[in-house]
């Protein structure tokens, strides 16, 4: 188990180091998120609907897009440098390869969300102060769900012609349950509702995460093995 985690970390570190050397993808994702948030501001009528009602949707659509951006670059690096073959003949287990990718993607998306959330609070004047901890919790849960399935699917589309487009088409149906859960919990948190009301949704998110992380771990070897 420790071996697995260590190997996963090796894979993740390599990916993240590559990422930070150029920083292009990260900066693009951050700017993209800021732009999406800005667009949402102009895409609504503030007199018709209260910001607080739309806020959860705005936040989560933005985060979903950011996650998609992150995933699109997941295997591209490998493909460009033909490093994937190198990884596969190495003594690294398939499982640690998946977990490494998952970890790297999660760090990437977490960074984008870490900047996106304050921007969101700023732009839409949303009171998150008192509910920050549970909010971060639900963001983490939903993001794990998105990225777990997304990392698996990245491996499926990597050699196809319209990889980015295909990834989105395949992935979006899978993002709906965590998205519904995340928006529901966020709405309750921002609305000052007691946490107990959101308990069912938290359970759904957790079940989804456990289910799909396990499934993806199980299935990932089939995407890279002969």
């Amino acid at each position: 188990m420790a071996d697995l985690l260590r190997q996963a970390w090796t894979v993740a570190r390599k990916d993240l180091l590559l990422e930070f050397r150029t920083r292009t993808a990260l900066v693009s994702a951050l700017v993209f998120s800021a732009l999406v948030l800005t667009m949402f501001n102009f895409g609504r009528d503030p007199t018709a609907v209260a910001t607080i009602d739309l806020a959860p949707t705005i936040l989560w659509v933005t985060f979903t897009f950011a996650a998609m951006l992150a995933l699109n670059r997941a295997f591209q690096l490998e493909l460009e440098n033909q490093a994937l073959e190198g990884l596969l003949v190495s003594p690294l287990s398939r499982t640690s390869l998946y977990w490494g990718k998952l970890l790297a993607n999660l760090v990437f998306v977490a960074l984008v969300e870490a900047v996106g959330l304050p921007l969101f609070v700023l732009f839409f004047d949303v009171p998150v102060g008192r509910v920050l901890l549970p909010l971060v919790g639900v963001i983490a849960l939903a993001t794990i769900g998105f990225v777990a399935v997304g990392t698996l699917f990245s491996a499926l589309v990597i050699r196809t012609r319209f990889a980015e487009l295909l990834l989105v088409v395949l992935l979006l149906p899978f993002l709906v349950p965590p998205l519904i859960g995340a928006v529901q919990v966020t709405a309750r948190l921002l609305g000052g509702r007691p946490l107990s009301e959101a308990a069912g949704w938290f359970r759904l998110l957790a079940a989804y995460d456990i289910g799909f992380v396990s499934l993806a771990t199980l299935l990932f070897p089939f995407t890279v093995d002969e």
Partner: protein, 223 residues
């Protein structure tokens, strides 16, 4: 008799029997007092749903079996089932709103049933798109199997999340659709329709499977 021929025969029989279902449902099954003639859409919509679910279930099952045994026949069957499932999903997606409008007063509603229908359709389409994008048969089989299994696991989550979502936001309903206990004649029509739709599923899948075999053989000739 070749597989393709057998498939065509079964499909033809299915279509003829479908005409029979049409006649029985439209002319020989009593009208539902509160919902009127539109209720009869039920006799097509529900069996189509069954066929689509069956198709999805078999895609999932064959995907699992393929990954375990690596027998391409399972992959071929899964692909056939996915295409046939798409057709039945399309029937669901069209008859659903046509039924909803007179009964519920709106063309679309995000209730668990219709939403699941939509997702089933998306999953089938995604599956077929992925297959279209991967050329090498072995790779295609593996990738499709992974997607197929994920899709199957997704369905209960969709159902659960939509159900939880809906119970919080009840829709104003004009007329409630009829609940379980169906009078005898209606039940018979429904059951016969189920049987016919299942037969159509078998016929279609057989034809589609045979088509795949035919194309593979032709591919080998040209190679």
């Amino acid at each position: 008799m070749s597989l393709a021929h057998k498939g065509r025969r079964i499909t033809l029989l299915g279509l003829v029997l479908l005409a029979g279902v049409y006649v029985r449902a439209l002319a020989f099954t009593p009208l539902e007092r509160f919902q009127g003639p539109a209720q009869k859409i039920f006799y097509l919509h529900v069996p189509a749903a069954w066929s689509a679910m069956l198709a999805m279930g078999l895609v999932g099952l064959c995907s699992i079996l393929y990954l375990i045994v690596k027998d391409l026949r399972f992959d071929r069957f899964a692909a056939a089932s996915a295409e046939v499932g798409t057709a039945f999903s399309l029937v669901m997606l069209t008859t659903g709103p046509i039924w909803a409008k007179p009964i519920w007063g709106t063309w679309w509603t995000w209730d668990a049933r219709l939403t699941l229908t939509l997702f089933l359709f998306f999953l089938f389409i995604g599956y077929l798109l992925l297959r279209g994008a991967v050329v090498e048969p072995g790779l295609r089989a593996r990738y499709s199997a992974v997607l197929g299994i994920c899709g199957l696991v997704l369905l209960p989550f969709i159902h659960l999340s939509v159900y939880l979502f809906r119970t919080l936001h009840p829709q104003p309903i004009v007329l409630k659709p009829s609940s379980p206990s169906l009078p005898g004649s209606m039940l018979v029509t429904l059951l016969v329709s189920f049987a016919v739709f299942t037969l159509l599923y078998v016929g279609f899948v057989t034809q589609r499977y045979a088509l795949a075999l035919q194309r593979e053989a032709q591919g080998r000739e040209h190679a």
